[in-house]
């Protein structure tokens, strides 16, 4: 059934269709309508779940981990300050190998206070062992939540996942979304049934103390799980396409990249805008393409290497900044391509922080710039876009 809905409602429907059994809920702008909608679903009986109105985001994640360990499928949602407050327990969830699925409405970090979009909160969690999916549409949000449960609950994975919506741009903007039927989702996503869980009669301790002579082997297993997640993301999406008729591009969605001279690599809703810019530039004869990082964790090394070896210039747009280094996605893409015999010229564009709009005009200038840089070589590897007081004008 097609409905017009916001990204937040798409998240709520995704959780409902996935039959989340325990929902921990703490409000934060701009995620609130997710937990509000879920409260409605639970109160009306549409969703048979236990709804825990926790008293902080840290507790939200802690409650989810406990519930998962006792065998229940859980869901929660948060944003910026809440996500970073959870940081400790995000790491706990992945180390505990519980497949929590969470929506993060990606929002700028304070101070300065901001409720608008950027990716610093999400990117800052890249070391937590969570799968991270950056979405470009509300449909993708709903679909990816369902797929994430299937990927994460796979025996060889058992890692948590966050589905990332851009604050306000997706969370509060309405788009047409195809809401699958419950019975079709049920046929695609079986109930959560972990092998080992907390149960009366089995004296098991989950999460105990491990000495230096054994800790590394547990972490190694976590690494193997993330590796397996890569394959599962692809195979589950194939299944999804077969059942629902839709897909969203795997780990790295490529648009017009096959014969591109230069490409822009970006994540989130700006990638959707960039596709329109690609079309406009192509109409004028430029051979440009857009590669969208959909899965930031596990990072699409293979796909980027394959792409990188074919293009002259690669612009990487980071809607975040890792202080003292470059943008996270740029650094990781560059590292990925380091071992390639043929590498493009690469440049990092830091843009859109704190909700600053990345317009088609700005994106067009980015494509122009990377084409120039690809020919002449790069001077400043990292350029901040549309910052008042800097020489280059972007608007």
């Amino acid at each position: 059934m097609r409905k017009v809905m916001t990204g937040n409602y798409a998240s709520a429907y995704g959780a409902k269709l996935s039959r989340a059994e325990v929902i921990a809920a703490y409000p934060i702008t701009p995620q609130t309508s997710i937990v509000e909608k879920l409260a409605e679903f639970v109160t009306s009986g549409e969703l048979n779940a236990k709804y825990i109105p926790v008293e902080s985001e840290h507790s939200a994640m802690a409650a989810c981990i406990a519930a998962e360990t006792a065998g229940a499928r859980t869901y929660t949602a948060t944003s910026s300050q809440g996500l970073t407050l959870m940081h400790e327990v995000l790491m706990w969830a992945s180390g505990a190998r519980v497949p929590v699925v969470m929506t993060n409405v990606s929002r700028a970090m304070a101070p300065p206070w901001s409720v608008w979009v950027d990716h610093m909160d999400s990117v800052a969690q890249r070391d937590t062992g969570w799968l991270q999916f950056f979405c470009q549409s509300n449909q993708e949000v709903l679909d990816t939540i369902i797929m994430a449960y299937k990927v994460c609950e796979s025996k060889g994975v058992m890692l948590p996942a966050m589905i990332i919506e851009d604050a306000f741009i997706l969370s509060h903007t309405s788009e047409p979304v195809d809401v699958p039927d419950q019975d079709v989702v049920d046929s695609f996503l079986p109930p959560y049934a972990p092998e080992l869980k907390l149960e009366v009669g089995k004296a098991r301790g989950f999460g105990s103390l491990v000495k230096p002579d054994q800790y590394m082997e547990f972490r190694y297993k976590d690494m193997l799980a993330m590796k397996e997640a890569r394959e599962r993301i692809l195979s589950v999406e194939k299944e999804f396409k077969h059942v629902f008729g839709r897909e969203h591009g795997g780990l790295l969605e490529k648009y017009m990249c096959d014969d591109a001279d230069v490409v822009l690599v970006a994540a989130g809703s700006v990638a959707a805008t960039a596709k329109d810019v690609v079309d406009a530039l192509r109409a004028k004869g430029s051979r440009v393409g857009l590669a969208r990082i959909r899965a930031f964790r596990p990072f699409p090394h293979e796909e980027l290497r394959a792409l990188g070896s074919k293009v002259e210039g690669m612009a990487v747009l980071d809607r975040s900044y890792t202080f003292g280094a470059a943008g996270a996605m740029f650094s990781e893409a560059k590292a990925s391509l380091y071992s390639c015999p043929k590498r493009p010229v690469m440049k990092n564009y830091i843009a859109g922080l704190g909700g600053r709009d990345i317009t088609p005009k700005i994106l067009g200038k980015m494509f122009e710039d990377i084409a120039v840089v690809a020919r002449r070589g790069v001077e400043d590897e990292v350029e901040w876009v549309d910052v008042a007081g800097l020489p280059r004008r972007w608007r």
Binding site: E21, V22, A24, N48, A49, K50, I52, P53, V54, E55, S56, H58, S59, A60, A62, A63, C64, I65, A66, A67, E68, T69, A70, G71, A72, T74, E88, V89, W92, L198, E199, V200, G201, K202, A203, R204, G205, F206, G207, S208, L209, V210, K211, Q214
Partner: protein, 296 residues
């Protein structure tokens, strides 16, 4: 044939790595004797996160979830929600945490779980400092005590703040049942645990847990010190049921000096300081008696 005064079945194995004479060991031992096998524990960072031993050693015969430090209350709510949605009945969910993990860093999560009326039992074993990390002061450290972060003989001096009254805090949450228990009185301890088990809603048990290394005392005195704590009214035994205080052991009213002198953590106190403690303990006891009489 000898008859024991408490249930004989053990729910802990020996070989746990608690210190010799550890009061917390007895707290767990008595707790599980009262609750039985259909119990699931959640334990945050604290001595008891280490006492089951290094992986894969486990001294408990019931399931256990280790959690992050401040998460006990949240984990209790998560566990109960999962068991409920799965239709698994007749299981006692227990959050078992130290004083630091309860009155300080864990206060928010516990308050949340109590406010949500999570159907579970919170047990705070109180050794009156952050013992697992090496005897640093907590909000539950009593006035006058030496700890490593309230050392004596510097301008900082011993702990000058009174002990947080966690029972009063729990009473303010209007939970159906709260009780103080002592390892010196296992029969009373287990009776209260069994009573708590029979009540639905959020229940709180405050267990005094003598700590030989932390309190600077002879391990063999652990029970004696616990007895004196009750008799001197430093740690009175009482229940708060449906908001009403009921004292369960009057105690002899032994001078506080007798309790303090067994513990090296109080050895620096002057006569005046001991008198000050006696006054505070007497006032606390009077207040408790008044609460009991007035039904408040």
């Amino acid at each position: 044939m000898a008859k024991t005064t408490i249930p004989e079945e053990e729910f802990t194995y020996p070989g746990g790595t608690g210190c010799p004479g550890c009061g917390a060991n007895l707290v767990m031992r008595y707790l599980l004797k009262g609750l039985g096998e259909r119990t699931i524990l959640s334990i945050p960072a604290c001595c008891w996160a280490v006492m089951p031993g290094y992986w894969p050693s486990n001294c408990l015969k019931v399931p256990l979830l280790y959690t992050a430090f401040e998460a006990t209350g949240a984990a209790m709510s998560g566990l109960r929600a999962a068991l409920d949605i799965k239709g698994i009945e007749d299981v006692t969910v227990v959050g078992f945490a130290g004083d630091g993990g309860t009155v300080d860093i864990g206060l928010q999560a516990m308050s949340g779980a109590a406010e949500r009326r999570t159907d579970a039992i919170y047990v705070m074993y109180d050794n009156e400092a952050y013992m697992n990390t090496g005897i640093q002061r907590s909000g539950s450290t009593p006035w006058g005590a030496w700890t490593t972060t309230t050392p004596v003989g510097t301008s900082h001096g011993f702990k000058h703040e009174p002990k947080k009254d966690i029972m009063a805090i729990m009473q303010a949450h209007r939970i159906p049942y709260a009780a103080t228990v002592s390892v010196a009185h296992p029969e009373d301890f287990i009776k209260k645990v069994q009573k708590a088990k029979s009540i639905k809603g959020f229940r709180f048990i405050h267990a005094m847990s003598p700590c030989p290394p932390g309190w600077r005392m002879n391990p063999s005195h652990a029970i004696e010190v616990a007895k004196l704590a009750v008799d001197t009214h430093a740690f009175p035994l009482y229940e708060i049921e449906e908001g009403k205080v009921r004292i369960t052991r009057k105690g002899k009213g032994t001078p506080i000096k007798e309790y303090l002198k067994l513990q090296g953590r109080f050895s620096h106190l002057t006569e005046d300081e001991i008198s000050a403690i006696q006054i505070a303990v007497d006032e606390g006891w009077k207040l408790l008696l008044a609460k009991e009489t007035s039904g408040v």
